[in-house]
Symmetry: C2
Subunit: 521 residues, 2 copies
């Protein structure tokens, strides 16, 4: 649990949240679009070519040397990215090297952490790492939930992480960027090499704003590494490692459509809703991720698009072979891709100029001059819980355990039609609840909830209610679906028994605190 | 002439330079690689999506409205770029609109200005524009030279301009970016449309660091404009105009090799030098521009590359059909291109992923963590004058008139072998002189001077002298060539008669003042 004192305050969503996080002041959520940022962007130090080799060769022998040359010290913030997902071999090596060097109290600032990062627990226990700010999927989330971490966890969306760095809320001392291909100057991309992951957008903010940037690669090629998704002009040092990722875990290769009849029904209802509400029309756009329901949704929508001769202007992913198929069949003009989930996605991004890599800056940064997310006609998302006011949770389970990151979820809520496509219960625990355990997304941004028992439209969206009024879609009030599910499950979910201590804060896209997570005893 | 007071000081190159420029302190040149920047990069204001349309449509009806919405005020700095060269139709319209609005004392900060911008003289005379910082090719340069501009002109290299903006030396209030193709969100590129110019790299700093950014286009397409060379996330407003450029003047279409026998000889000697010095070897790189000698040099080098089966890793341009031919024949793996000079260059950049667009950030910014310029094996440049210590001038003529910009010239001096390929005299005025009229590049960075009368190697480069010692190249001391030319021309060039007033400062790549230009009466 946090070793820093903090006060609590009730925010505009009625949630009690800390006003200090890890010793820094935090602003409680003020309502969607209400918080106004002041000030100017973070300003990294001005470098000079006089300090860098004229021949462009920044290669050092190993990570430890690079960390020392980067000036690593106690209490610094070290960032990594999660494009290798559960196949990342770099972050653990970074903190092993830090332990060898003998530094303490680091803040780890990953774009996300995965079960493969369980070894970091050793460094949290020993004091090398003080705390983590970033998504903690699995064991690190549970470690945090149990109150074992000294600092407070901070969860941000992908766009929120870019914003935090850009706004100077998080100052990265040293960024370590694992790159599937790089040149000695530090130009890097994710398109080729044994650890190919597609793109490196999650490391963009780190490269632009960190004081020091280390690129680590297992595929060092001659200058120029083209395209340079990461600019070598931001990079201090390059390190070659034997292996930076486990390809079988970077891309699953087996991203598969759900076989559950209930979930297939949810996917079909979602696609039908988009069609019958008139969203599916020439030049439209949608976003779908890599979950089983999302993938099935894409294949249903593809069918309707073909039947009606409808083509999209662009689709957004997490790309998979299903989105690539749409592009290759001419059903969409572009894929605007935030991360590639399978080998078809990587191949397509490498070969097809209409499969475009994006970043949290272009797609999601709420403190930009607009972003792509709000231009998307419909987005299909999941959730761990949704309440009768359409508020939703994506990070904790109903037992209070923090097991998931936010990803781009909060950012995507700004689409023109946000759909949560979710089973009405999981493991006999209702998903539709009176009040979500943790508030991640305000109900005013959630337009539609699609379950296997019917579709609930947010009463605020009268336009959508009108649009499908003539259809035979199973449109029902959310309360009615909830009541039915409670009957099936034998009542409402049990209230989790939680400690008082705040173990993690949930940031809204604008940096305010929308909710927090309490210790699970 | 400048209406601000300034003091003068002798810099490390022995030149007397102002220590105040337009009311701001300026640091005299301290020697190559000697000046160390302090502080942090410029920090633009943090924006919020709450202030921008959710549907991404930032289109306004006209430029005047956009300037007013951008908050234009007296004394602001307005930037434009020069990718349309002498075919630009936007900059004049910007200042016409400013005149209509009634603002005064603006600073115009173009990446370069051309004869087509002569109408700006009216706005300088009337007080709408206070002064220009940026290259002034032709009439505006003469206007400045004659002491008619109220402020001091400041000339920076392409890299120096990026650096000045990045370092906060120049704060751009409003950037106006003319874009051959753009979408309503402000994503933009130079690849297609009636005013296609290839790339928009010179506007990159403006987009990243200006408080307000206006994109002006005559080819507005649906989102997304791919590729987005300029990110819409940096853009405030988009304006559609009927025509933003005159295609016949944007690209000449007739970039032609010199027919002068003397200049052909210079080109041939340059190519032979690169071959015989051993620079032309497998995987090498070179840069050549779009002048008549440069183009001829490329064709000679191409011949030698074919004869010897030598392939380059990359070539840098200003691209022309001659560089494109190298790429398409497989004689180079990449073109790393800073600006496209003809239609073949634009086509190639649009179609060939190995014809890569670069920017002054990647190529030239001296206050980055290295840049591309120093990695180039050989660069072939011009000059208006060179002295016996290899110091060179590229902005003034021997009569003292400021008629040219610096371009990427200073930045390119950092290549591994910098060659000035120049006629030994022009209009019967010697080009090799005792002391250059204006110092733009320190002699320690100029390695070779190739003239039609022989090749002079900088005595500092013993390695190059050794490398060609066995060749039959006409290697001669620079003093000897100079003496011969003076005989032909009937003596040394007449010393220009100049006023005392400083009308323009010449910045070195690191922002220090390497020289200044005096008024020509």
């Amino acid at each position: 649990m946090s070793d820093e004192g903090y006060k609590l305050e009730t925010n505009a969503a009625g949630r009690i949240v800390p006003t200090t996080i890890n010793g820094k002041p935090a602003v409680p959520f003020q309502g969607v679009g209400k918080y106004r940022p002041a000030g100017r962007k973070a300003a990294p130090p001005v470098a000079t070519c006089a300090d860098y080799p004229g021949d462009g060769n920044k290669v050092l022998t190993n990570l430890k040397t690079a960390l020392i040359k980067a000036g690593i010290e106690d209490g610094m913030t070290i960032s990594t990215h999660h494009h290798f997902r559960n196949g990342d071999l770099v972050a653990n090596r970074v903190f092993d090297a830090c332990a060898e060097i003998g530094v303490k109290d680091l803040m780890w600032f990953p774009s996300a952490s995965f079960p493969c990062h369980e070894p970091i627990i050793r460094h949290l226990d020993s004091g090398v790492v003080h705390h983590i700010e970033g998504s903690m999927n699995g064991p690190l989330g549970e470690y945090c939930s149990r109150g074992k971490m000294r600092g407070m966890g901070v969860l941000r969306s992908h766009g929120g992480r870019y914003r935090a760095v850009q706004d100077g809320e998080v100052h990265i001392d040293i960024a370590v960027i694992a790159a599937p291909t790089a040149d000695p100057f530090g130009n890097a991309n994710g398109l080729t090499g044994p650890s190919a992951c597609g793109l490196l957008g999650f490391a963009l903010a780190d490269s632009q704003f960190a004081d020091r940037v280390i690129v680590v690669t297992d595929n060092l090629i001659d200058f120029p590494c083209v395209p340079w998704q990461i600019h070598g002009n931001y990079v201090d040092f390059v390190v070659k490692m034997d292996r930076i990722g486990d390809p079988t875990k970077i891309v699953s290769g087996t991203t598969e459509i759900t076989r559950s009849p209930d979930r297939l029904l949810i996917a079909e209802l979602t696609a039908r809703f988009i069609k019958e509400a008139g969203i599916m029309k020439g030049g439209f756009s949608f976003q779908a991720g890599a979950g089983g329901i999302s993938l099935a949704f894409v294949t249903f929508l593809e069918k309707y698009m073909k039947e009606t001769g409808t083509k999209a202007r662009f689709v957004r992913g997490g790309s998979t072979k299903y989105l690539v198929k749409l592009l290759e069949e001419g059903l969409t003009e572009y894929i605007l891709d935030g991360q590639t989930f399978d080998l078809d996605g990587i191949r397509s991004m490498r070969e097809n100029p209409k499969h475009v890599n994006t970043s949290p800056f272009t797609s999601y940064n709420y403190h930009g001059k607009g972003n792509f997310a709000s231009m998307v006609d419909a987005v299909v998302l999941g959730a761990t819980e949704v309440d009768v006011n359409f508020n939703a949770n994506v990070v904790t389970h109903s037992d209070g355990l923090l097991l998931h990151g936010i990803g781009g979820w909060q950012n995507c809520l700004f689409s023109k039609c946000t759909i949560l496509s979710i089973p009405s219960f999981r493991d006999r625990i209702p998903v539709i609840v009176d009040e979500v355990t943790t508030l991640c997304g305000p109900g005013e941004l959630v337009d539609v909830v699609v379950t296997e028992r019917g579709i609930a439209i947010n009463p605020r969206r009268e336009d959508l209610i009108d649009a499908v009024s003539g259809s035979d879609l199973p449109i029902r009030p959310i309360e009615e679906i909830k009541a039915e599910v409670e009957k099936i499950c034998g009542g409402k979910p049990a209230k989790p028994k939680l400690g008082d201590e705040v173990v993690a804060a949930i940031k809204w896209v604008d940096g305010t605190v929308i909710d927090c997570v309490r210790r699970v005893p």
